[in-house]
């Protein structure tokens, strides 16, 4: 099942923050991980990830560094910053509150 694009776009930044919080990741790895974990439900175009990453970096929520993999390929890894972690906490709490409110609202409607 596909999701509304606006909904996915609004959640893109918290999702990226959550992933790079797990460990440092590079862009292609993030895309693949999202697709695997959501079974392709988000239908992200790979290119749209990079503006998102750069916005987060410009805002100081993540930082980047070039590293060389064992295969010799140079990749740019992103890591969450302290500010990014607090931002993620806020977003998660906001999402919980929002989804709870939506569920409550929908449950009221169903029961009615």
């Amino acid at each position: 099942m596909g999701f509304d694009k606006d909904l996915v776009r609004s959640m893109a930044e918290p999702i990226v923050l959550h992933l790079v919080m797990e460990r440092p990741m590079y862009g292609y790895e993030i895309i693949k991980l999202v697709n695997v974990r959501t079974d392709g439900a988000f239908e992200w175009k790979e290119g749209t990830l990079y503006p998102c990453l750069h916005r987060l970096e410009d805002a100081g929520l993540i930082s980047s560094s070039w590293q060389t993999s064992d295969s010799g390929r140079r990749r740019k890894y992103y890591t969450i910053s302290r500010k990014g972690m607090s931002q993620l906490d806020e977003k998660v709490a906001e999402w919980d509150s929002f989804s709870s409110a939506v569920k409550t609202l929908m449950g009221t409607r169903q029961s009615a």
Binding site: Y28, E46, G47, Y50, D58, G60, S63, K83
Partner: protein, 713 residues
Amino acid sequence: MSEPLDIEAVLDRLAAGLCDDPELMLDVRAELASHFEEALDEYASEGLSYEESVGRVLESFGPIAEVADGLVLANKKRVGSRGMVRLIAQRLLVPVAACIALVSGWHAWSRVTHLVSSYHYVQSELPPHPLSPQLWSPSSKMIADDPVSRLTEEQAFFFVGDPTRSSLAQQQRAIWEQSSDNRVFMGNYVSVLLKEAPRTGLGGYEAELKLVSAHEPENARFYYLIAGMYCARASETTGSDRRALFERGFDFYDQGHAAGYFRRYAMDMADVQLEVLGPVRRIEDQLDRYKQVALRPTLDSVVLSGLISASAEYGRLLCEAGRLDRAREVMGGWQDLIVAYSRDVVMLDDVSVLKVLSRRAQADLLPVYNDFELFDDASLLNEQTALIGALSFDVFQPPSDYIARFGGEIESRGTLFSMLLAPMVSKTPYPGILEHGRQAEHMFVRQLGVVIVLGVLMVLMVVGIISALRWRGFVRRSSVPNLLLPTLGQFGVWFGLGVVMPLLVAWGYAQSRFSSGEFSVLFVRERLVFELALFCSVVVLAVVWVSDWGIRRRCRELRIEVPAEGLSRFAGVVAVTLLALVGGGLILSSPDGVIASLYYLGSWLAVGVLGCWVLVRLFRSLVASSRWGAYYSAAARTTIPLYAVAIMVLGGAVVPVLERLELSHLQHEEPLNESRAGGFVNMETARLMGMRRHLHSELKIIFSKENHNGSGS
């Protein structure tokens, strides 16, 4: 074969919007290229052909134009900020640095002309010195041999005493032992003994002073000295003998009626009294003022020094005017007064002045004042050392008439020895004495100074090389850094080295037995301005070239156009190079300036460290959490300071400004002829010479009035 071109074209299209920041454009392009390579490899591993893989990659990547616009928007803020920094670094800072370098160069040239004129002035207006015929000049080196070796055996004995004895006091005692009736030799011995008192046992100290006091039983000073020693020792003691030490000290205190010694506040009172008496308009007013204060019971050494100075100057001017009888009358009268009061005035700091004066009176050396030549040179000395200098002049010119007449009374040789290495010497601009003081200090400074300079240079070179290597490592994993902030960071590290080392060396030197107090700092003040600026330039110059090479190389690797500041950059480098060349030559020709240069360098570098630290902290606090904040933080640790030279030269502009302020201050106190002052050895000489001219004009007025009155009557 067109597929790879498609990928390259896509990458160019994606990064094209960031062309205002070539470094960022290449960085983003490299990131996206890495993404495409990963994706192509994955599709290839699934068995797809290259053409199919490219098609799948571009399809899954999404609309190129939309992504490119997204990248521009995401990086808009960063591109603007970096562009501003780059603009400041490339268009503003370097031209400013070049201008400051040119100003500093102009100032350095003016200092060169100043030194040359000073040299010619000294050579033309002062008599040649028998022991040091070559005064310092930009082209001449110091005299390498020991001046004592030029003396005869007898002179050398009076110069250094008996060198086989263990302490300086004992060496001086040898001179006194040879002429036990000579009070000057005795006084020299006592003064040295006082300096060595902390290392002398109380019992031995007391015994020696008692022995000395037997020659002058009426002189209460020896009792004060013993009393002071016991009291000082008692104040440092917490044991049971504390009370006994005090009581014994007070016994001597009572014996010597030494109340004056403990009333140091009398000095302040006398100053106030002098101020109350109002401004001085004529030399005789000056003498009257001193006389008024001197006749009071609160006379102390400060007043006495002023009295000495004024009477000596007055007597000299009278001699100069040919009024020898009047001079003899004036000087004799004051000498009696001085000798009389010297028994009651016990200020340890001025014991040597009183001693010489009293001995001079006792030896009946009044005819010396008739020696115009002698007094002319002696008057160049400052107030505290005027008469001592006159004596020393005699010693260094043995064939004078004075020595022929008073051969047995040449008593000041011992005093001279203590003068040569004493801090007092540093306060006199008299070139002959300074030259000998310089000889003593050079022996140590010349060797140490060169080693220090070379050591600092080597350390900084190693740091520069390490920085270059680290910079190369940084190149591999990141993009080209901007210049300004990394420069400041690295600048701070260097300044840290520059501060610690010179200050430690200066402090260690000041603590050593070779130091003569402020000598090394004050004496070479005239040469500090460009020596310092040039020393800094020598250090920085090599690093600037290394950094330039590294930055250019990195730019070539990333296919970025090499930043060019054009003429301003070229002018700045040329100016610094010229300064460095001139400075290196001066440092080699005047090694005595090295320590003082390092001292001032430390002060400047401390300011540099503090400034850089504040800037970096401020910057990090503002932008540390942003991407380019982290970017610059990383760069600051690894890059090389191209613009350090700009800040260095800026620091070099500080001292000329301070010096100009000081000159204005002096001119305010004592009106000086600007062009004339430029030829003087130093400002103290200029001040004294100005005073002489002033007094001389006053005296002419007095004489003209007296002659007028005389002719009228």
